[in-house]
Structures are given as C-alpha cells and as structure tokens.
C-alpha cells in the first residue's frame, strides 16, 4: 500500500499502461480528468479496479461512491485514505 496519494497516482498510471498495452491514453489524461469521459471503456475501468486490488492489496467495497472512481486523483485518494 503506498504511503502517499502521489505514489498511488504513479502506480495507477503504470497499471493503466500495462492494462491498455501502450501509454497513449495515460500520456493525454490528466490526474483530475474523468477517466470515462476521456475515453476509458467500462471494461477497461473494471480491469483497472481489479488490477488495483491486486497491486494495493485491498478489495473495493460494494457500496463505493462513483465519485471515488472518477479520476486518477480520486482513485489515488481512495487508496491513500485506506493506508491512513
């Protein structure tokens, strides 16, 4: 589990590159931009969430708020909050 949101953001970007097979998406999406609006498919988003479970060692709650999954920043904030 990363100590800071900054570490989590970097790890999430790496997971996205591994998931998508290239860095085209990651290189143009900002930390705060909606991943879905930026073009990430629902299948890829779920793939990222599953990869985050493995990488960070936690399970998403069934009642997770949609806002927590909106962007790299919000995802990293969720992970950092778990750590703290």
């Amino acid at each position: 589990m990363p100590d800071t949101a900054a570490e989590a953001r970097q790890r999430i970007r790496t997971l996205l590159v591994e998931l998508l097979g290239n860095d085209r998406f990651v290189s143009r999406v900002s930390d705060t931009e909606s991943l879905r609006r930026a073009g990430l498919s629902s299948h890829a988003l779920v793939g990222l969430l599953v990869a985050m479970e493995d990488a960070f060692g936690f399970e998403w709650r069934d009642d997770v708020e949609p806002e927590a999954l909106r962007s790299i920043d919000s995802l990293a904030g969720y992970v950092a909050a778990l750590r703290n």
């Binding site: 629902s42 299948h43 779920v46 599953v50 949609p66």
Partner: protein, 188 residues
Amino acid sequence: MALGLEVPPAVAEGAWIEWRPVRPPYGPHQQSAAGRRAAAAALAAAGSADRIVSRDPGGRPRFPRGFAGSISHTDRLAVAAVVPGAEAVGIDIENATISPRVTEFVLRERERRVLLPPVTRYTPRELFSAKEAAFKAMNGVGTLGEFLFWQIELSQSDGTLIASYGGERIPVWVRSEAGLSLALAIRR
C-alpha cells in the same frame, strides 16, 4: 455482410437502431464521431428534425426531447438506438474478453450461480453488456441518484433478463454473434 447485429422486431418495436463503422486510426475521437453519426442516422429514421446529440454536464449524450436514445461503441464499430416516446433507452456493444476476475467483480455470487452456464446460455460478456445497457436506461432518467453499472442486479423471469436497482426493474435483451455482444434496454 451486414454491419452489426440484428434485433428481432418484437424486441425493437418502436426502436430505430443504426450502426456506423469507426474510421481509422480508430482512436477515441473517431469512436465518438462514429457514435454521433449513428445517432444522427437513428434520429433521422425516427423522424426527428433535430439530429444533433449534445452532452449534458455529466458527459451523457443528450438526445432531442421526445426521442430517447443511447450510443455505444467499440474501437471499430458504433451503434445508436432511438425510441420515440420512450422514457429512456440504453444500448451497449462489447467485444472484449471478460476475464474470470472481471466477471467476479461485475456479477454477484448469486448472479454467477443462476445466470451463467450451465444454468443459462448467457456469457459473462453478455451479462456485462446487459448491466451497461440497463445502467444507461436507468441513469438516463436521473431519479436513482449516482450509482455504478455493476451495482445493478440481474435476474431472469419467464426467460427474460431483468435488471433491478433502487426498486426499478427493466427488461434487457442480449445477443452475441462473431465476437460481439449487443444489449438493449428500453424503459417505456
């Protein structure tokens, strides 16, 4: 060969469904443009004078009043459905392979037990797509608050796939062919 999948007349009653190919280099811009072309064609077929689909602040497509619609695309193909007079419509196409981990994430244990083979013939991809289509139809109404598509629950009643969330129920039709799954949910 026809583009996309055919929807039986009984399912698509009152619905206008149009497919358009995504043009090279098949990026997000081309995918979105193909979706808009499909939507414009479906609106034209449905008799709408306004064929522009804008976006609401949440990024959802905003169809002309009286012409409920929905758009979906893969990296190579886009589809749009328009149902004049319907309350909301959700359409989804998927060509991705749904891994066991993703299946477990998106489908609850009960859904996996009663909706996957050998109990039924639905594939994980069809059920994934069914939840997405139902989410679009339910989310389009805007009375259910913020939720995620996998929080919708699927069940089967008299051979029909039913999506439920927040006390709302909506039938979903799904079909697959040649590596592509199509799901359609119409809230009349």
